[in-house]
Symmetry: C2
Subunit: 340 residues, 2 copies
DNA sequence: ATGAAAGCGCTAACAC
DNA sequence: GTGTTAGCGCTTTCAT
């Protein structure tokens, strides 16, 4: 079965005719230029209304040499990205903020097998700016991109060369410190941690926060196992930690997904949380909300972070002054896993 | 701080000059028309390569009257949509499939306060087609849209007038029947269900499947409570079910998120799952994977559904024959919540 | 304040 | 097979 669809798109010219003015005037009204008499303007507005006119983006873009399109670049490997609630929230924030602007959101899955395709597309004048997100990764493989195209990253860059890129992040070190202190305040005296990948800023910084806090308190900081931020590896790391045979009464996990995996292992092993072991996660996503017990965590304002990324980029595009770095606050949320 | 970015976009004309041919020929090569000699073609290709030429989308679109853009319409209320793993997977499927085509994905959050804005945008010739998704909703408020713009919906339409729209769905009735049979096969003889909203196809059909199976088996089907597909309401519905004071040994919940909420209530009440009560959910998302106990569920191929939606729309746009209705298979996944 | 005119970069007949 | 010629619908000087 095939289908026929009627185009029926009124043009600026038709609006001009109906309003009895020139195309230029209509264009001025549409772009709300101040140099139009109220009469002319209202005549145009009325014509637009009755015709149901909508400016053609392509034509406008061609003439003005602006696309009004913002690309949301999602690294392919991170395409399961959507399986990550934190990431999904960031995307949501971006979309919600952009919906209030004149910009359109173009989701681009960067093919890693053919990175040039993506780069060409982005640099080919198809978009006005780019937002690069990849949970926890701090993946700035598109760092060079930012020299050509206004770009805002989610998460701080890992390498030094990219220090000058625009980005929005949370203070992972401070968040980890807060989580660790919380454990200490609870009376825990031997702590373990399940860290994230050390080649990712989020993984690195959270471990750093944990470690420095313990060292500052004169406690041991060698009970560390690493996972890749997924529940499965969180569970495995938990087992490895247990297998060490060293007792501990407090655990900081670098993200909620791994924490939930860890909790399931603890349940299987009959280790009571929080009574025998207090657990704190990071992110504040719904993984932790529905776990048993509910997970204490260091929440990040994920949706707000997405919105902020969009805001920074739009400001950049409109030539408004913007901070290169935006650090959003984290918040410790205490739930059952640390409430004795 | 402000920034300067260099455009530097080579045009088709420059390519033509360098290759020593006309613009038409370059255009033909770019659109791989067969009517070009190999020599000419390779000369053009070489020029394109050295110049790093990328066709300008706006110009191409304006001239060809095609945008190569597909809108992904997300109803605003469903913007927390991303909080729903099922939905997020569908989006992922869409994005992944489209990345392999010449089409670009334009995410549109439909503002419900100003629905016309969205409709105008979509009908204003800014996109070639639309994909409408909204988890469980079957929300075809954009049904009229499909008369003007090639549109594919996720989930079957609720109202009769829209019966002729294109959509991709799973057989919710059959899935519910399978889940209920599974409970019956386990030996359960008095079943309850937490249904979804009855104004949503997914909610309606799943209850229907459960009910007809019980009636067919000569069993009572009055133990029904309704929730809105969120974990919170799943928990509340569970409490109401328990408050009725009528004993039951099998429970079918219309989606995994509500099921997880129900499980937490059961845990609080000390009701053993699956020993005292077997529980089956629907969707197959990670909510159920990490619950305690892991949830048996009727899984939907969410990512594949998204990909299929994209595929159907693209076929429609390219004039290929397509089925108006695509029903994807569900699969019963047996986990701890029904394994005694 | 408003109109006329000249493109923006490309595709699509139409001739050759 | 290839070049020529018109536009696609809009913005933007530049006059007026």
């Amino acid at each position: 079965m095939t289908h026929e669809f009627a185009p029926a798109a009124p043009t600026l010219e038709q609006v001009a005719a109906l309003a009895g003015v020139s195309r230029s005037t209509v264009s001025r009204v549409v772009n709300n230029s101040p140099h139009v008499t109220n009469e002319a303007a209202s005549a145009v507005l009325e014509a637009i209304e009755t015709l149901g006119y909508v400016p053609n983006r392509a034509a406008r873009s061609l003439a003005s040499r602006k696309t009004q399109v913002i690309a949301l670049v999602v690294p392919e490997s991170t395409a399961r990205v959507f399986a990550d609630p934190f990431f999904a929230s960031v995307v949501q924030g971006v979309a919600l903020h952009l919906a209030q602007t004149e910009y359109t959101l173009n989701m681009v899955i960067a093919s890693e097998t053919n990175p040039d395709k993506t780069r060409r597309y982005l640099m080919g004048g198809n978009v006005d700016g780019a937002l690069v997100v990849s949970h926890h990764r701090g993946d700035h493989s598109y760092a060079r991109l930012s020299q050509t195209l206004p770009t805002v990253f989610g998460g701080r860059p890992m390498s030094a060369e990219e220090r000058d890129s625009y980005f929005v992040d949370t203070d992972n070190v401070a968040g980890a410190v807060e989580a660790t202190r919380h454990l200490l305040d609870l009376g825990c005296r031997s702590l373990a941690t399940i860290a994230g990948p050390q080649d990712m800023p989020a993984g690195f910084d959270r471990l750093l926060g944990w470690r420095t806090t313990l060292i500052g308190a004169g406690l041991d900081s060698s009970l560390v196992e690493e996972g890749d931020f997924t529940p499965g590896q969180g569970a495995e790391a938990m087992r490895r930690l247990l297998d060490r045979g060293v007792p501990f009464d407090g655990l900081f996990v670098a993200n909620d997904q791994m924490a939930v995996g860890a909790l399931s292992v603890l349940r299987d092993c009959g280790i009571a949380v929080p009574d025998s072991l207090a657990v704190v996660g990071f992110d504040g996503d719904y993984f932790g909300q529905s776990s048993d017990p509910p997970l204490s965590t260091v929440a990040q304002p994920s949706t707000a972070m997405g919105a902020k990324m969009a805001e920074v980029l739009v400001d950049l595009l409109e030539g408004r002054p913007v901070e290169r770095v935006t650090i959003m606050p984290t918040e410790l949320i205490v739930r059952g896993s640390t409430r004795r």
